[in-house]
């Protein structure tokens, strides 16, 4: 067995989810080779070579891969994939974009969003937005797998020294073109990777009241989330939505404020390590999954919360 893992990067630095995917891959087999395809991405190839779990780096440099268009990446991955049994990438918008193309051309049925590796052919994956877990066994010779990054630890980035093999670019079909990328600028950590998330629901009553949430987010270096109800009410932009139709988050600490706990919201946050609920309705379903519930009026509780946090002098960032 041997694994081909597709690295995600921005041509300058490796993206962290690749490290989660490498940890997952190491539970299948130790022969892990990482494909770094990009434009002038030599530093990324060198960065990957230092990861102790990586046995070999395959580096392909070409303007064709600068923006990771799936139409261009797929022929390269197909060409490289020949000698591998497993092809792996993170199940984020990067991996989800190209992996099914690779899978289709290899006539292999992809296993998406794996959260646990049982063996080299058996995997656990959530279905119905995490409302059920399916154990699946793949009978394909070559398996294409995407890994849910937050279900695996980040692999160590230093101490290794694998070889870097340079390869030629593959032909591209010339049917797609990159135009632009607009990053949502925020001083705060990204919702999908933040260690702490604080979310507001319909109970916030207005977009102005989200300043109470923002103040605590700044103090805890947290990302700000919201329930669908708060987004639909126009209190906050939909890029903050946590839930089945928004983002799935798995932080160390999730604080739900004024959120009742609809199924659709729980699907996006119930795997968080510690859940805190602040709600004045003691019967709200969110309390049944919260580690710490505080039945209180959020407009009194949030300013007090900030005061208490200010009293602490050691907040982990």
């Amino acid at each position: 067995m041997s694994i081909l893992l597709i690295a995600e990067h921005d041509n300058a630095n490796l993206k962290v989810f690749t490290l989660n995917a490498i940890t997952a891959a190491s539970k299948i087999d130790q022969e892990i080779h990482v494909l770094v395809a990009g434009n002038k991405c030599e530093n990324v190839a060198k960065e990957v070579a230092l990861i102790p779990l990586v046995k070999k780096v395959i580096h392909c440099d070409s303007p064709n891969y600068e923006n990771f268009l799936p139409e261009n990446l797929t022929p390269l991955i197909i060409k490289v994939s020949e000698s591998y049994t497993h092809i792996i990438a993170a199940a984020n918008t990067f991996g989800k974009n190209f992996m099914p193309r690779v899978s289709a051309l290899l006539d292999s049925s992809q296993i998406s969003d794996v959260i646990k590796i049982n063996s080299s052919e058996e995997f656990l994956r959530p279905i119905y937005a995490g409302n059920a877990f399916a154990t699946v066994k793949s009978n394909d010779k070559k398996k294409c797998i995407t890994i849910r990054p937050t279900s695996f630890e980040v692999a160590s980035k230093s101490g290794g020294s694998s070889s870097i093999e340079k390869i030629e670019a593959a032909d591209i079909p010339n049917i797609s073109k990159f135009i632009k990328r607009e990053q949502i600028k925020s001083e705060r950590p990204e919702l999908g990777t933040a260690r702490v998330v604080i979310s507001g629901g319909r109970g916030m009553q207005s977009s102005d009241n989200f300043k109470l949430i923002n103040a605590i987010a700044d103090k805890l270096n947290a990302a700000v989330g919201a329930s669908r109800a708060a987004v639909d009410a126009g209190y906050i932009g939909n890029d903050h939505q946590v839930g089945q139709t928004g983002k799935v988050v798995v932080p160390d600490l999730y604080i739900a404020v004024g959120i009742s706990g609809a199924i659709q919201h729980l699907a996006g946050m119930k795997e968080s390590k510690i859940i805190v609920a602040i709600n004045k309705d003691g019967e709200a379903p969110i309390f049944s999954i919260a580690d710490y519930g505080l039945e209180a009026d959020l407009f009194e509780a949030l300013p007090q919360f900030l005061d208490e946090l200010n009293k602490l002098n050691t907040i982990q960032k």
Binding site: T93, I127, I175
Partner: protein, 249 residues
């Protein structure tokens, strides 16, 4: 321009999912079913293109059991011109569905195929991309905005870091995000009219493609239940617990 829209019948998104006692699957007996939510966005976008004069014909297609044709009827009620129902009583993996859709595309020769970005039952997020690869077509996945410009289409995509805009040649595959548009409801007269529109029926097994499943579902289980926690009496107690017990701040 001709547009093909693929739709799927799934358990309604408001239904609480229950796992069967024997752990073989999720219970679908006597459960409310409806069109996969982002597939509604796919139909809506096609209808908008027709209303703006850019599309001439919309064909809705589904693969599934007898009742799956309800989703095609709904698509027609919203604005599709006709429908195709590829019948199959068994679950078919996205790989097999993509092969079936490829056959339909070869027959219908659309310029654009719209699909939802993901089905809310198996959460695979594969069919559109697989179909694109099999046809050698470009794809605009997780589309939140599209702009048709003659022989190309500009697609704004919802990606982890924000938005990405690409330009793809026609013919192309677009998979739709919920943010693409606001799906309309079918009016009662249109629902009545849709009942008379033709739906062509085919059988998956007659299409000459290998739709055998490659993945065996070993078991389905409820996710581990979270233990209910405790209620704290005050904010001070909450902060103290978070610091000293949970050690997360």
């Amino acid at each position: 321009m001709k547009i093909l829209v693929a739709v799927k019948r799934v358990i309604d998104y408001n239904v609480q999912i229950r796992v069967k006692e024997d752990g073989s699957d999720v219970n679908t007996d006597n459960v409310k079913m409806s069109t996969n939510p982002p597939d509604d966005n796919a139909i809506e976008e096609a209808v908008k293109l027709k209303e703006s004069g850019k599309a001439k014909e919309i064909v809705a297609v589904t693969v599934g059991e007898e009742k799956a044709q309800e989703t095609v009827r709904k698509a027609i009620a919203v604005g599709a011109d006709r429908g195709i129902h590829v019948k199959s009583d068994n679950y078919i993996e996205p790989l097999g569905i993509a092969k079936i859709l490829k056959k339909i595309v070869e027959k219908e020769k659309p310029d654009l195929v719209f699909l939802g970005k993901q089905a809310i039952d198996d959460d695979c997020n594969q069919t559109g991309q697989m179909l694109a690869a099999m046809l050698g077509w470009p794809q605009g996945t997780f589309a939140s905005k599209i702009e048709h410009k003659d022989k190309v289409i500009e697609v704004t995509r919802e990606v982890d870091e924000g938005l990405e805009t690409i330009q793809i040649n026609l013919p192309a595959i677009i998979t739709c995000d919920l943010r693409l548009n606001e799906p309309r409801f079918a009016s009662l007269p249109n629902i009545m009219k849709a009942k008379k529109k033709p739906i062509e029926q085919l059988y998956a097994k007659d299409l000459g493609v290998d739709i055998s499943n490659r993945i065996q579902q070993v078991k389905v289980e409820e996710p581990p239940k979270r233990k209910g926690g405790i209620k704290v009496a005050s904010v001070a107690e909450l902060v103290s617990k978070l610091k000293n017990e949970a050690k997360v701040i």
